[in-house]
């Protein structure tokens, strides 16, 4: 695309088309659908972190009045160990089945074991208390160090480390070892005048969406089964559930409800297959809603990590070597995002010599799920903290040092491709030139700078646009709208068609009325689904021109399309889109455009954040007093929602840096499974978050879009972390920087 392109609608901040429903409470979320005859499902969860189920007897519960169905792992048809795709890459079907309902062994506190459906949820809960289970409690493994130590209790006796030069002969909690390398790491360090290195820890942190997982399902023997649920990808729910229950895809319709936040945590299934089994067994529609403590205990957290990073640089500031070793907790089943941690850790830098190895480690915690730029915040936290330290050692401004080493067009990445045009330099310059960066710090304050890189993905998106006889239309897309993306789809289609956005209504089709679309994740929706929308809109325009041409008896090439009007270049005729639609019945039937694509060319989005904190040195309490988030959007379709992504990512990251963490007892039981003690930021914790949109167009998208959803959560960990280090003058290694930890650092007891 040309950078000078003028847009009519793109770049304005319109009112979102689903806004009315959202501010009036009419929008229907996962828990909001009820069906006639519906019953309620509840789940019995493990009170232990690691135990063998020696005996399981549900007969008393089954006999309880009002109970209509009971489900256990044995209700799954025999599942084989095949890979299926979900937000986190591949999770085997067997692991998914064992996560959804435990088989023989429980692997974390809150692991689902039995589900009961009853006339009311109160009856279901009473019946759960009648299930007789005998456990043989095992020692839990709660951290990668413990898990990797010789003699550690083994979670899966059949798991052998992959990626080792020699095939291992004993089972291990390390699922995979992987490495990435470039250049000669030893030579790189030999070339360095200054070397910094440190070990870091990041805790288990939850996505913390406000809407608990919920679904209403109906199993029908005639093959018209239905799932209504809150999900980032209803086609993925269909694929996973159909495979777990050995159903044909065509016999299962999944409807994506409005979704109350996901951040990656709603890219897999927990309740849906279980509810469908209960519905099948009871013959009734079943609703299941997780309680908040179930959300924290048994769904999605992001990996806790331990990482060691070492960086070398010459006196002139040239970084010569970056080395790292990352160990990520996968939770109870293999599949942490450590690979993406390895791929992103050093990628903001153009450095010749890099080496990084990663370990995917199982522990007795809930299986991790994708969490906004999965794997990247933890790895880049370690690197960015050290780059700041390096700047101090070299007596350089931290932004200036980054500019000197910044990745740009042509930079070779450690994971393969060379960068096309990217906007890191522009983001660093915008941060450097911001008023925030010029402002002096007060007493007890500190400042942190950090950069963040995320790939962004493309993938499959399907869209059709159905035009109505009056010239209005419906955009049917397959990507659940989690943050206002329907507004962007409406604007992109309107831009392509040259009509007012309000003439087009975007909706999310179910799995039967739109073709397969990958889930909303990977910052792909505005990019990939947007491309599909533009293609569908251009298809509509082409058909409009064809219709006009046939009415004028000219060729379509002789018709020009300007601002929603067909112009006959061979005469004076003009026909508006509405007029063509009105006459469509006489020119070949109604008009419908289609854009089914597998989008490629996703453009990475770099982010640079500035954070000022003030530390109460008597208590260790940290207040964020000023914050600026700079990020490359390529092109901001709806600037206010783009800013919202930056601000939301920043605050989620601030929470991770300051107070969010899973707290476990010595027995591996989660002690803070609620919003009271899992402390996400509240309104009074924060200042306004300044958002600066940088636009370095992604030339693979017709309007220049890069995804913006994820990069914003990467820099805060180090921006906050280093700001604290700067304020207290003591090296920071572990998150969260909760008051007791900061106080101990100040006291020299870190």
């Amino acid at each position: 695309m040309s950078e000078a392109r003028e847009f009519k609608y793109i770049g304005q901040s319109t009112i979102r088309p689903d806004g009315f429903d959202k501010v009036t409470g009419r929008a229907n979320y996962g828990a909001d659908l009820s069906l006639p005859g519906m019953i309620w499902g509840k789940i019995l969860r493990s009170p232990h972190a690691h135990a063998i189920i020696k005996r399981l007897d549900t007969s008393r519960a089954e006999a309880f009045p009002g109970v209509l169905a009971v489900a256990t792992h044995s209700d799954f048809p025999s599942v084989t160990d095949q890979a299926i795709e979900s937000g986190e890459g591949s999770l085997t079907l067997l692991d998914l089945a064992r996560n959804v309902l435990a088989k023989d062994k429980v692997l974390y506190h809150g692991h689902a074991i039995v589900a009961i459906a009853a006339k009311t949820s109160a009856i279901a809960e009473q019946a759960l208390a009648l299930i007789d289970i005998e456990y043989e409690v095992l020692k839990p493994v709660m951290d990668v160090r413990e898990a990797m130590a010789a003699g550690a209790p083994i979670l899966h006796p059949d798991m052998f480390t992959q990626g080792l030069a020699e095939k291992p002969t004993t089972a291990s909690n390390v699922a995979t070892r992987l490495e990435y390398k470039m250049g000669d790491i030893e030579a790189g360090f030999k070339d360095a005048d200054v070397v910094v290195e440190r070990e870091f820890y990041t805790p288990t942190a939850h996505q913390g969406y406000i809407e608990p997982h919920a679904c209403t399902v109906r199993f029908e023997k005639d093959g018209q089964s239905m799932i209504w649920c809150s999900t980032q990808g209803h086609f993925d729910v269909r694929a996973s559930t159909a495979k777990l229950l050995a159903m044909d895809l065509g016999k299962l319709k999944v409807i994506a409800s409005e979704i109350g936040g996901g951040f990656g945590g709603k890219t897999t299934v927990y309740l849906e297959p279980v509810a469908l089994i209960l519905s099948r067994k009871s013959g009734r529609p079943v609703k299941m809603i997780m309680d908040r403590d179930e959300v924290f205990k048994a769904t999605g957290p992001g990996s806790a990590t331990r990482s060691w990073v070492k960086i070398g640089a010459r006196k002139d500031g040239t970084i010569t070597a970056m080395q790292g070793r990352l160990a990520y907790e996968a939770g109870a089943f293999k599949g942490s995002p450590v690979m993406m941690g390895c791929m992103t850790a050093f990628t903001p830098y153009a450095v010749s010599n890099m080496y990084i190895e990663g370990f995917d480690v199982v522990v007795n915690k809930a299986k991790v799920a994708a969490y906004r730029a999965p794997g990247a915040p933890q790895a880049e936290f370690a690197v960015e903290m050290l780059v700041n330290e390096l700047a101090v050692k070299l007596d350089r401004d931290p932004i200036d040092l980054r500019l000197q080493n910044a990745a740009q067009e042509g930079t070779q990445t450690i994971y393969g491709p060379k960068f096309k045009r990217v906007g890191l330099v522009e983001c660093l310059e915008a941060a450097r030139d911001s008023k925030h960066y010029q402002q002096a710090l007060a007493a007890n304050q500190g400042r942190g700078v950090a950069a963040g890189f995320w790939f962004n993905v493309g993938g499959q998106s399907s869209v059709h646009i159905n035009m109505n006889p009056d010239g209005t239309g419906t955009i049917v897309e397959g990507s659940p709208d989690i943050g206002g993306s329907r507004a962007s789809m409406q604007m992109m289609a309107a831009e392509a068609m040259g009509i007012e956005p309000g003439r087009l209504k975007p909706i999310i089709g179910d799995t039967e009325n739109v073709a397969f679309s990958a889930g909303t994740g990977g910052s792909r929706t505005t990019f990939a689904t947007g491309m599909a929308v533009i293609e569908a809109a251009e298809d509509v325009v082409a058909q409009m021109k064809q219709r006009a041409a046939s009415m004028w008896n000219v060729t379509a090439e002789q018709v020009e399309w300007v601002d929603g009007v067909a112009l006959n270049t061979a005469g004076e005729d003009r026909l508006s889109l509405a007029e063509i639609c009105a006459g469509a019945d006489r020119t070949g039937g109604q008009i419908s455009g289609r854009g089914n694509i597998n989008a490629r060319g996703a453009g990475p989005s770099f982010a640079v954040h500035l954070c000022d904190v003030e530390v109460d040195k008597d208590t260790g309490k940290v207040d964020v007093v000023r914050y600026t988030a700079v990020q490359d959007a390529g092109k901001a379709i709806h600037p206010k929602y783009v800013e919202g992504q930056y601000q939301g990512g920043a605050v989620q990251g601030i929470g991770w840096a300051l107070n969010e963490e899973y707290i476990y007892s010595a027995d591996g039981l989660l002690e803070n499974a609620g919003f009271l003690d899992y402390r996400i930021p509240v309104a009074s914790d924060l200042p306004m978050i300044d958002a600066i949109i940088v636009e370095v167009p992604n030339n693979f998208h017709p309007y220049g879009v890069r995804g913006v959803g994820e990069s914003g959560i990467i820099p805060p960990l180090a921006a906050v972390g280093y700001a604290v280090e700067n304020a207290i003058g003591v090296p920071v290694t572990d998150l969260p920087l909760s008051p007791p930890r900061v106080f101990n650092l100040i006291q020299g007891k870190g």
């Binding site: 008597d618 208590t619 919003f675 003690d677 914790d685 008051p739 007791p740």
Partner: protein
């Protein structure tokens, strides 16, 4: 506990009668912000609820020369908007303002906070600091107990089955006497106190402290009245050294536990910081009231 029976008596007598005479476990409900959550978490055991919010005197207050007489079930949102009370008992109002969110304050009451008897309750140290008393009524008549003697353990208090808290009574502070309450939490709102400190001081016209009370919360099984810490203030002008001494004595008196909200060492340290800071706020207020 699952609520199986709900009662809304119109008078104290009716409430007292309801509290005895049932085989089902019976609990008094004020705002219900703790009780309803507790009843959800253990869904099996049946529970009978006596809601006191329909009793007019439970919801009202009076403030006169004798001091404050507070209906224990008045919600915190209403209480914290009472400007006449805030003038005299700013620390107690601060404590009530710190209980949960605006929404929780729309239900939760000082009496409920007191009777729930959590070690981390915000209003308990504030009440102890101002010498508040509990008027308890039961089938056998009335009795009055100082707040520091009311709470007897974690979630336990001195009320016998069949008794209920009818009134919270606080003497009117003299000019030169004012209170303050501070707590420490990791965020700015929505947390349970890691530690809390209520302080009241009385200054004479020369600025010399003639009386003081210091109470600390969330650092022992119950909120503690630390007389020895207050003693460090009496006779001084609340200078830095005497305030620091009071803080140190209060820290030493604490016997906290380590849990998901804080460690022993951290709580012990923090409570001292809070005592120091609350004392200085109370001092400023006392000076202004002279």
């Amino acid at each position: 506990m699952a609520v199986v029976d709900y009662n809304a008596p119109q008078s104290v007598q009716e409430a007292v009668a309801l509290l005895s005479g049932s085989d089902i476990k019976t609990k008094v409900m004020a705002g219900g912000t703790d009780l309803i959550i507790q009843s959800k978490s253990q869904a099996v055991e049946p529970l009978r609820v006596v809601d006191l919010k329909h009793i007019a005197e439970m919801m009202s207050y009076s403030l006169d020369d004798g001091g404050l007489s507070l209906g224990p079930c008045m919600c915190c949102a209403e209480f914290t908007a009472l400007h006449d009370v805030e003038m005299l008992y700013p620390g107690l109002v601060e404590a009530a303002y710190l209980i949960g969110s605006t929404q929780v304050q729309g239900r939760a009451s000082i009496g409920g906070n007191l009777c729930n008897s959590s070690p981390a309750a915000d209003t308990i140290p504030a009440l102890i600091a101002i010498g508040a008393k509990c008027l308890i009524v039961g089938a056998g008549g009335e009795r009055t107990v100082a707040v520091e003697d009311f709470v007897t353990g974690v979630g336990r208090n001195c009320m016998q089955p069949g008794e209920l808290l009818q009134r919270i009574l606080v003497a009117r502070p003299a000019p030169g006497s004012r209170d303050a309450y501070l707590r420490f939490i990791p965020r700015t709102e929505m947390d349970i106190a890691v530690a809390g400190a209520g302080v009241s001081v009385t200054l004479d016209s020369q600025g010399v402290c003639t009386a003081a009370r210091i109470a600390i919360g969330a650092v022992a099984q119950t909120a503690l009245l630390v007389a020895s810490a207050a003693d460090a203030l009496v006779g001084t002008k609340l200078d830095e050294a005497s305030v620091a001494k009071a803080a140190a004595v209060a820290s030493a008196a604490a016997s906290p536990i380590t849990d998901r909200r804080g460690t022993i060492e951290f709580r012990r340290h923090i409570v001292g910081v809070l005592v120091k800071r609350a004392t200085l706020i109370a001092k400023e207020r006392a000076q202004a009231s002279l």
